[in-house]
């Protein structure tokens, strides 16, 4: 019983985010904290780590009652957290980030100042323990998100090594990196550390957790040994109903036959950009959901950026609604009825200090131009309708969007896109960092939008998710189009195409035109 919380109540502006939650974390275990968006996971973590003040309830660490007043306070007690969005300095080196604020110093007899050699060597050892190979002098911002994540973990465990809290550490990692992270987690667990792990990927929960605690609407549903709680039971506990099995049969997919003879909304011929992506050939028709699969860094996002004018193509031809276009700015793509939900929600999506309403109408307003302002009544109606349609949960729509949970922010971004009534909606990882039920809701929305005649380009790292809704799948590999598959193919077929070495699959490359 290393860390124990009893009867935690936490309210934001009178609304209870946690309502009498008990939680127990033992030394030498990996404990998964599960729940839908808004279930209270983040709040519980904030209370445990001192990021939010303890309002009611008791927390004890190794039998001693504690009351962390700040995250630094919690760290000194031995509770370290690695957040979903990496909170490190991209302009410092890997080693500097690990030791920021705690740099080993040279003795004054030797000139004082930072002892760079010790710092770099200790950083190297720490990362080697986690099985990470990286030049510790490299600028952190130039490393992959996975490396950044590991650096954050290295920093956390070096500061204090009793309780490690990982808030969605895997949401930006690909499968190899996840495995690497998990072996590090297992090693830390075996050394007696208590690890609290929050994720939305069910498979990952079972891959690494010993115990699962489920929250729902701010209340404790229960604590279970991972072996005794199967997939379906876990989802049921999270969602609170047994029917919410995470499956959609292919009958939910939009039918392809009646869209086949329509003019494509978007058509590209060998569209490419040097250093970004080579020869993209896509056709997306109204009512169709085109799935774009591929590993991290395969060029998925780059395709979206080219289509939406975030990068300008330097070769090929692109036609939108039968007009030849060349976009150099997203505003031009928006004027041609394209809409885009970017992958990086925090940096590229939401405008944090603006209200939810302002965020939702931003693109619509930008398209209307500078001289026509959306009327107050119209703005209210549009935002209310979309919030209802997408089930955006907020105290009210006039609060800053930064106060919403990740899943709700994502819904707002989709609402922003839908407010412009686009003909083509490009979604880059719209379900990243969102819980099972939330994912399901978003997928259902996509299918419904397609059935209303919208064309969708759906980018996702999760093949299973792509197959559930896509009418066709295009696979990207090594920054080129590796091939395309019908929507009713199997996961294995997609994986085969994703993973095939480029030189070994000439046929697939030839089948590139989709």
């Amino acid at each position: 019983m290393l860390l124990q919380a009893r009867g935690i109540v936490h309210a934001y502006a009178g609304k209870r985010a946690l309502d009498g939650v008990d939680f127990t974390l033992r030394a030498g275990e990996v404990h998964a904290l599960m729940g839908q968006n808004g279930a209270g996971k983040s709040t519980l973590i904030k209370v445990l780590t001192g990021a939010a003040p303890l309002q009611t309830g008791r927390i004890s660490l190794a039998g001693q009652s504690i009351r962390p007043a700040s995250t630094q306070d919690a760290q000194q007690l031995g509770i370290s957290t690695v957040y979903q969005e990496v909170n490190l300095c991209g302009n410092l080196s890997v080693a500097e980030n690990i030791f920021a604020g705690r740099q080993p110093l040279r003795r004054w007899t030797r000139g004082g100042g930072i002892d760079w050699r010790t710092l770099n060597e200790r950083a190297k050892t720490l990362l080697a323990d986690l099985d990470v190979e990286v030049d510790v002098k490299r600028e952190l911002g130039s490393c992959s998100v996975a490396i950044q994540q590991m650096v954050a973990i290295a920093r956390a465990i070096d500061i204090s090594a009793r309780v490690l809290i990982l808030d969605e550490p895997t949401s930006s990692l690909d499968s190899d990196e996840v495995e690497q992270l998990f072996s590090a987690i297992r090693r830390l667990r075996d050394s007696g550390m208590a690890i609290l792990f929050v994720t939305h990927f069910l498979d990952q929960v079972y891959a690494v957790s010993d115990r699962i605690t489920v929250l729902r609407n701010g209340q404790l549903v229960g604590e279970y040994p991972a072996k005794e709680l199967d997939h379906a039971a876990l989802v049921a506990a999270m969602v609170g109903r047994t029917t919410a099995h995470a499956t959609t049969t292919s009958s939910n997919k939009p039918a392809t036959s009646d869209t086949w003879n329509q003019t494509p909304v978007v058509q590209t011929r060998d569209v490419a950009r040097r250093g970004s992506v080579a020869a993209v050939n896509l056709e997306i028709r109204p009512g169709e959901i085109l799935g774009l699969a591929g590993l991290l860094g395969s060029g998925r996002t780059e395709v979206a950026r080219l289509l939406f004018g975030l990068d300008r193509a330097d070769a090929g031809e692109m036609r939108v609604n039968d007009h030849t276009v060349s976009f150099g700015d997203p505003a031009q793509a928006i004027a041609h009825h394209l809409a885009f939900c970017p992958e990086e929600r925090k940096t590229e999506g939401v405008v944090e200090d603006l209200s939810i309403r302002e965020n939702i109408v931003l693109t619509l307003q930008a398209r209307m131009g500078l001289w026509r302002k959306l009327g107050r009544a119209e703005c209210l109606e549009i935002t209310d309708t979309l919030a209802r349609q997408l089930d955006i949960r907020a105290a009210n729509l006039d609060i800053p969007i930064g106060q919403l949970s990740g899943g709700n922010q994502q819904k707002c971004l989709i609402a922003r896109a839908l407010a412009t009534r686009p003909r083509l909606l490009i979604l880059d990882e719209p379900t990243r960092g969102i819980d099972v039920a939330g994912k399901q809701e978003i997928m259902n929305q996509l299918v419904q939008l397609a059935s209303q005649g919208m064309a969708l380009l759906f980018i996702s790292a999760e093949v299973e998710e792509l197959l559930r809704v896509s009418t066709r799948i295009v696979v990207m590999r090594d920054r080129r189009q590796a091939g395309s598959l019908p929507g009713d193919c199997s996961e294995d077929e997609v994986y085969a195409l994703i993973a095939a070495p480029a030189h070994a699959a000439p046929d697939a490359n030839k089948a590139g035109a989709a």
Partner: protein, 334 residues
């Protein structure tokens, strides 16, 4: 009431005015003389006008994550252009148009460096800050141009409806600007650009042209200030017109509650900020502070004013005041 955004700037201004009134009981007196209002307060309104105009332009630039430290130099350029034009052609309209045109070009140049070349705003505008005085000297041929043309005098010294024309002009510009920002989505776009420029661009906001226009507008405001200042002193002095005005403008913007990091801005706050700075200057004169400690005294007063405006400072003062009474709650509620 304490949470109202303009509460602290207004309180600061009121305290400064009260300080003056205590030292000099005649400070608050306003009389009607020669067909217009007359008094210290009226004088402050008149002298704050150029600063308020420049600070209004600066507010929008800062709100969109920019900065323009060249406004003082642009004031000198506009003053020189206007003075040269009025003394050589004798046409008021031409003088105003050329001064404002030159200032607008200066602002657009800054904007181009930031938007098209991608320079850091402080560096981009530093170029014109340094070069601008030289350009102004070239225009005036190194001389102080004295203006003998009476109609030009009206801009900085005239009265409209009993009030100083410059003050009326500043109020009119700020009111119109406020109307423009609220009646069009421009205010929303500026805030979006200031908070997250990348997200704003992806959302379809044309951040570049808007930013360019904001720098252009900021230059234009500096031009207007240049006209007022040169008219007020009846001359254009390339070396001394508008010196350190950029810093006063940034200070006025900050005093008004606009975040230097962009996004949050208040035009009304900026106007009050400009009044605070001008009142401060008057205070120094009315207290009879010797000229050699003038700047130190001003700095000390600004320090006090900024402390009063700092939410962090007020919170720690409150915590300090509350601690003995309530030892249980060591941590003030967030």
């Amino acid at each position: 009431m304490f949470a109202l955004p303009l509460f602290w700037p207004c309180l600061t201004l009121a305290l400064l005015v009260m300080l003056n009134a205590v030292v000099n009981p005649a400070f608050l007196a306003i009389a009607w003389r020669d067909g217009h209002l007359y008094g210290n307060l009226i004088d402050i309104l008149n002298r704050a006008a150029p600063l308020a105009l420049v600070a209004a332009g600066m507010t929008l630039v800062i709100a969109a994550r920019g900065l323009d430290i060249s406004v003082g130099a642009v004031v000198a350029i506009a003053a020189a252009t206007g003075a040269l034009c009025v003394s050589s052609t004798g046409s008021l309209g031409l003088a105003i148009a050329s001064a404002l045109g030159a200032a607008l070009l200066c602002g657009l140049w800054n904007g181009l460096l930031v938007v098209a070349v991608g320079m850091q705003p402080i560096i981009a505008t530093l170029i014109l800050m340094v070069a601008g005085r030289g350009i102004a000297q070239l225009i005036t041929n190194g001389q102080i141009i004295t203006i003998y043309y009476a109609p030009y005098d009206f801009i900085g010294n005239g009265f409209l409806l009993g009030l100083p024309f410059a003050a009326v002009l500043a109020v009119a510009v700020i009111v119109l600007l406020h109307a423009l920002l609220t009646a069009t989505p421009l205010g929303l776009f500026i805030r979006a650009i200031g908070i997250n420029p990348l997200a704003a661009r992806i959302a379809g906001v044309r951040a570049r042209p808007i930013t360019l226009c904001l720098y252009g507008f900021c230059g234009l405001m500096a031009g207007l200030a240049g006209l007022i200042i040169s008219s007020n002193v009846k001359s254009a002095d390339a070396n001394n017109a508008g010196t350190l005005l950029e810093l006063d403008a940034i200070l006025a913007v900050t005093l008004g509650g606009t975040a230097l990091t962009g996004g949050r801005f208040s035009l009304a706050g900026t106007a009050i900020g400009a009044l605070i700075i001008q009142t401060l200057t008057s205070t120094i004169y009315s207290l009879g502070v010797p000229p050699e400690v003038n700047l130190v005294f001003k700095a000390a007063l600004i320090f006090v004013v900024m402390l009063l405006q700092s939410a962090e400072f007020r919170a720690s003062m409150r915590a300090l005041a509350m601690r003995p009474a309530d030892p249980e709650k060591g941590i003030p509620p967030a």
